[in-house]
Amino acid sequence: MTLLDGGRGIMTASVDIQWVGGGSAATLEASATKQICVSELQETMFRIRLLEDRLQQLCDAGLGADLHFSKGQEAICVGVCAALRETDYLVTHHRTIAHAVAKGVPLYPLVAELLGKADGLNGGMAGEMHLSCLEKRFMFCWQLVGTCIPVAAGLAWAVKNYRKTDDIVVVFHGDAATANGQWHEGMNLAAIQEVPLLLVCENNHLAGNVRPEHYQPVNTVSERARAYGIQTMVVNGNDVEAVSEAAQFAARYVRDRRLPFFLECNTTRLGRHKQGQGDLRTKEEMAELALHDPLRGLEAPQGLADEIEGIIQRALASPDEGWPKGR
């Protein structure tokens, strides 16, 4: 990784990413086409973190729903979305808030939707786990673990064979999804149909409260992906620079070759699985994990907390759940 501007945070992806899959990475030029400003990425991560922390308070006060937060995992979606074009499509699972913010979904309608308000993105009908914002090509979320993989494969099939554009589809999922039949059926379909699909695994080594020894008989999730003949890469998912660099490479691979690619991002979930579920991890373990927090030691940009508070207050004051206009 090269820092071009004396440490102010501009970098290029001109890189030595370890190629874990079969074949050779050397044939694919990995030089950067897009300059990425790390401080901008960190700002987006803080946006997610502060928003989720504030929503957490609302949930604790009984004003929020059974939300799923991405605390500790923000670097992955922010890094990946930075490598996408605006016209690329995103499909995701049940932990949606960070993904929506990273894809550029406007905050006020997002927050209003999360709070079940008429002003929400989907009029309060979708809630957290069925969000969609077609203008931002944030296509849909499928709450059931694994479902988003075959759906994303179908979407990518349509991009390649029906719309015939050079856009790509990115789908997020967790490591736990790889124990589900839908993940395997989706991987098989993506590989056999050769679709432009970037699969991003947010590997937090947890399935709710369940540890990998109960669902993962292999060392890395990537091994499973490689069994379908899909190229893979493993990256530190708590390092936003590394993620964005890897994602640039991966997105370019998918865009140029019109083939699926699997990016495994190791990360740490610093919060509960969801509001309605306790956490079995000990304080010591959490303290150890907090050392890997991607925002550790950094300060939130000034004014961001106030901006988010304004949005939250406006959403709280808006009328309750309702139907989308015109329906």
């Binding site: 849909f140 759906v151 179908g154 099939w157 349509a158 059926e185 989706g186 098989n188």
Partner: protein, 335 residues
């Protein structure tokens, strides 16, 4: 072509009149609508044998997928997000259980917010072949919001309803009843080929005031008509067979149901006999009977259908589980 003839002569491929009509509807609509694509396990092989016109003209829009029913249905939902209209051919209705999650949780739910609703047609057929190749899961799907459920019983209805399914935003489960014999009481695709709207039943024959209204669908429509054939042309009010002149209504759509017409006909007769080809317990007839009991308490209701038992492999044993012509005549005669 010779192979095709052989295939059609095979005992495993009899009763193809409805299938041909469905194929014709899909072919006609594919010519008008470029966004219709066929997906399915062995889809290319299936059109080769069943719909050579589609293979000839639209081979590039027929896609063979692996034997992964649930994943395939989700895949079709994904494709539909970009305005493709997938016809997903699951082949056998029993396989729908494999895809319950993707149909009920994914396909049925992705339209509820969208302005631009996806059109997805999920095709399958009822067979006779044993415990897991002779089931009729249609009633389960009528329970799920977001799904239309269609069971045509004649080639003409199959043609018209398939056109509607392909032109209607939403998810349609389209069943082909392979137990319906080609031949008698099987209205052909006529010269006027038009779409038949969902939620419109068909009056197959009209009885006399005061007799019975028979509500049926799928295979049982043909059986009921066969049972009543001997009485069809007797219009003598004083003859013994007079009570056999019944209204016969083919539901065609199990969701939405043609309530207005059914109620109008029941005003005339006051007696409702539901004859269904599926398990009575928790079936479509139960919903109709309950609704009529609530809204028209003066109407008397009877149901005929299959017991809640595992389907036997032998065709003759399977036939014994379904209402016979004699049972139907008996039910009409004794109120």
């Amino acid at each position: 072509m010779q192979l095709l003839e052989q295939q059609k002569k095979s005992p495993f491929n009899r009763n193809h009149a409805i299938r041909d009509a469905i194929g014709k509807a899909i072919y006609d609509q594919m010519g008008l609508d470029q966004s219709i694509h066929i997906f399915g396990e062995g889809a290319q092989v299936k059109v080769h044998y069943d719909a050579p016109d589609i293979e000839r003209d639209f081979a590039d829009r027929v896609h063979t997928l692996p034997i992964s029913e649930d994943g395939n249905a989700n895949f079709c939902v994904g494709a539909s997000l970009l305005s493709i209209k997938p016809i997903y051919d699951l082949i056998t209705a029993d396989f729908l259980y494999r895809a319950m999650d993707s149909i009920c949780n994914t396909a049925a739910k992705q339209n509820f917010l969208r302005e631009d609703k996806s059109t997805i047609v999920i095709r399958s057929e009822f067979l006779t072949g044993g415990p897991t190749t002779g089931q009729r899961p249609e009633a389960l799907f009528t329970h799920i919001p977001g799904l239309n459920v269609v069971v045509p019983s004649t080639p003409r209805d199959a043609y018209g309803l398939m056109l509607t399914a392909l032109m209607t935003p939403g998810v349609t489960l389209f069943f082909e009843d392979r137990m319906i014999e080609d031949g008698e009481f099987n209205e052909k695709v006529g010269c006027v080929q038009e779409a038949i709207p969902f939620g419109q039943s068909r009056l197959c024959s009209m009885g006399k005031r005061g007799t019975t209204t028979i509500l049926t669908y799928g295979l049982m429509r043909q059986v009921v008509q066969q049972a009543l054939q001997p009485y069809e042309f007797n219009h003598d009010y004083y003859a013994d067979e007079y009570p056999m002149l019944c209204d016969i209504i083919d539901l065609r759509c199990l969701y939405p149901i043609d309530w207005a017409f059914i109620k109008k006909m029941l005003e005339r007769t006051g007696k409702l006999l539901i004859v269904e080809p599926d398990v009575i317990y928790g079936g479509v007839g139960a919903e109709i009977a309950a609704t009529i009991a609530e809204e028209m308490p003066h109407v008397r209701v009877k149901r005929l259908g299959a017991p809640r038992a595992t389907i036997p492999a032998s065709k003759s044993l399977h036939d014994r589980m379904l209402p016979t012509r004699e049972a139907i005549i008996d039910a009409i005669g004794r109120w």
